[in-house]
């Protein structure tokens, strides 16, 4: 993980800054993908460097089914996100089942009653460590 790049990622940076170095080290060249929940803005200004940005509006079904479920069956793959706490609960629960954990989280100011959270999910179980 290149810390210099992470700091460009606005709200995500504070979450990442709090992440344990070991967890971030597993990210290799950085996040593999960044998820943005468009209920909290379009995220167009986010400069993601190498990571792919995937957007959704509260419902993580498609992103999880098309991308994360497949990626999480292989070792590695670090995901960052700025999403509703509800979407994070779903992703965190699914991640745990596939040997991953939220290694950093930071609750941001609520928008329309839903608090966005910036977070990083990284592999922690030996069977999925890169």
């Amino acid at each position: 993980m290149i810390r210099r790049d992470m700091l460009k990622w606005g709200a995500l940076a504070s979450a990442l800054a709090g992440a344990p170095a070991a967890a971030l080290a597993r990210a290799g060249a950085g996040l593999d993908v960044l998820l943005l929940d468009t209920r909290f803005g379009e995220g167009a200004a986010v400069d993601m460097g190498a990571a792919r940005v995937l957007t959704f509006a509260g419902d993580v079904t498609r992103i999880w089914y098309d991308h994360l479920d497949r990626a999480w069956r292989q070792p590695g793959f670090v995901v960052g996100g700025i999403t509703g706490a509800d979407a994070l609960f779903v992703l965190e629960t699914l991640a745990q089942q596939q040997g991953r954990k939220v290694v950093a989280r930071n609750v941001l100011a609520a928008v329309d009653g839903i608090a966005p959270v910036s977070w990083v999910i990284a592999p922690v179980h030996p069977s999925v460590l890169a």
């Binding site: 079904t61 999880w64 089914y65 479920d69 779903v90 629960t93 089942q97």
Partner: protein
């Protein structure tokens, strides 16, 4: 909060974990607060209180041989195991056990779809297979089969059906336990048993004839604690060619009685898929005067609700009908439904909704275009698993009481009134039971209603209210012969207590069985309200 298994000290627990590691390898046993957080019930009404039930450890076997070996180790150390398949039983206890200190046997690694047979319309799966996994297998192989899934699709056919969960397509498929056909079970002594035709070596009909010969024990493994299911077969609906939706409205309160009879007929004749009852008068619920009427003590009269409906220019009730089948059959079935109901109920009206060939396009799944405000959730109605339903979760989760009541309009009115009045004691909760509350037709031949108060991790006072209301609901409903269909561990004793015919003969029978095959309570003691001798003493 670290806990130990019952009757075990720290040294004994450490020795037990060592024995588990010897079976599954060191990476597949977890204990300690951080790792066990994932096995807490995040929807618990007693979250962070002394009453919350905690597991002491978790173990994830790779195959049935390891499951047997774990059971034998647990038996030697007298440690209760709590099996989960995908562990998403939120609202009914999540992955957390009945007994503090139990060890979760997490079957997530046993995630093979063993067979999907298109020509004979069945699947055989392991417990870690989720609805998404089964759907993906069918989609990728282009098979013409439909999976009946719950909201949300991250659970498993095995776990869901073993808690007698429900879905949303044709009557005989949406009762998930009813749609199972054949299982493999590890018994409390570690022995592996197969039910039905699976008991006959060489039989090719395990997923086609559930009974085999002699008594069929498969019912004991649903909401029970007599074994760990390691394989399970399910009947699948051949992918219907066409989907059609229609709406019927009826003007007066009492019309609901006849409407229900007609819909029962359509359901029982296999002419319709799941139905959504509702009331167009819900649009008036923001009006405090109207709200006072529909929540008034003693219930509303026909005349009162009819007058309110007339003033609002709205019918009292509606039912959304869904049809699956060949295009012509869906059309004929709809015509039949319409003619039957409109000829019998004066003022009834019919509206045709969306209809299209299956499989549905992404646009049809994501953006229904109904000419009315619809309660149908398109994906689940078409057997497409989703996680979108998560948005119905308020606060940090909910608990659920879903009483079973007769499929009649009168019974619906009575439950609205009785439970509505009983819940007046809890004025801060939403009025789940009011004069517009309509029944769900989840299971094939019965009605249920929903009581699902929320829980909040940072508000124990609110949780205590939800918890007290749940217990009151169970008690008052039972006085009227309405029983809960499914419950979280923390409510299972109270619910089991209400099934008390002939001095609890059913429970005593279950206890006799449990004592005979699992007296030390190795498999999920307390589940379904069934306690073995060791824990009754």
């Amino acid at each position: 909060m670290s806990v130990l298994p019952p009757d075990l000290d720290a040294a004994g627990f450490a020795a037990f974990l060592d024995d588990l590691r010897a079976v599954v390898g060191p990476d597949w046993v977890w204990s300690g607060d951080e790792d066990m957080h994932a096995y807490r019930d995040s929807f618990s009404p007693v979250w962070n209180t002394e009453q919350e039930r905690h597991a002491s450890a978790a173990v994830a076997p790779a195959d049935v041989e390891q499951v047997s070996a774990i059971v034998r180790v647990a038996r030697r150390h007298r440690v209760p195991l709590f099996p989960i398949s995908t562990g998403k039983n939120f609202g009914y206890g999540g992955p957390s056990p009945n007994v503090n200190g139990s060890v979760v046997i997490d079957l997530k690694r046993m995630n093979r779809v063993l067979e999907v047979n298109e020509a004979r319309a069945f699947a055989l799966v392991e417990p870690g297979v989720s609805y998404f996994d089964l759907y993906r297998e069918i989609e990728e192989r282009g098979l013409k089969l439909m999976v009946d899934c719950p909201d949300p699709g991250w659970g498993s056919p095995v776990g869901n059906s073993l808690d007698r969960g429900v879905g949303y397509t044709m009557p005989h498929y949406r009762d998930h336990f009813g749609a199972h056909c054949g299982m493999e079970v590890v018994l409390p002594d570690g022995e592996v048993m197969r039910t039905g035709m699976g008991a006959m070596p060489g039989a090719q009909t395990w997923q086609e004839y559930p009974y085999g010969f002699g008594p069929d024990p498969s019912g004991l493994f649903a909401q029970g604690n007599f074994g760990i299911v390691t394989k399970m077969g399910f009947r699948l609906l051949p992918l219907p060619e066409y989907y059609r939706t229609c709406l019927i409205t009826v003007p007066k309160r009492r019309d609901f009685v006849k409407l229900v009879e007609h819909v029962n007929y359509l359901n029982d004749s296999g002419l319709i898929s799941e139905v959504e009852y509702g009331s167009p008068l819900r649009a008036k619920m923001a009006d405090p005067q109207f709200m006072a009427l529909i929540t008034k003590v003693g219930g509303v009269s026909d005349a009162e609700l009819d007058a309110a409906a007339e003033a609002a220019g709205l019918p009292c009730w509606q039912v959304e009908l869904q049809f699956l089948g060949p295009e012509r059959a869906t059309w004929e079935n709809w015509l039949h439904a319409k003619e039957r109901i409109l000829a019998d109920i004066s003022g009834a009206q019919a509206i045709e909704g969306e209809h299209f060939a299956l499989p549905a396009s992404q646009q049809q799944l994501d953006h229904p275009q109904q000419p009315w405000t619809s309660a149908i959730k398109r994906k689940r109605s078409l057997g497409v698993p989703s996680l979108g339903e998560w948005k119905i979760v308020r606060d940090d989760g909910h608990i659920g009481f879903f009483p079973v009541l007769p499929r009649t309009g009168e019974a619906v009115f009575e439950m609205q009134r009785v439970l509505g009045d009983a819940m007046k004691e809890f004025p801060t909760l939403p009025p789940f039971f009011n004069a517009l509350t309509t029944p769900l037709m989840w299971h094939t031949h019965t009605f249920q209603m929903v009581f699902a108060p929320s829980i909040r991790h940072d508000d124990p006072a609110h949780n205590a209210i939800s918890h007290a209301a749940m217990k009151k609901c169970v008690e008052v409903a039972a006085e009227h012969g309405w029983g809960d269909y499914r419950a979280a561990p923390i409510y299972q004793d109270a619910v089991a207590d209400t099934y008390s015919f002939n001095n609890h003969a059913l429970r005593r029978f279950h206890e006799q069985l449990k004592d005979a095959i699992d007296p030390d309570g190795i498999i999920a003691p307390g589940r379904g309200g069934i306690w073995p001798r060791r824990f009754r003493a």
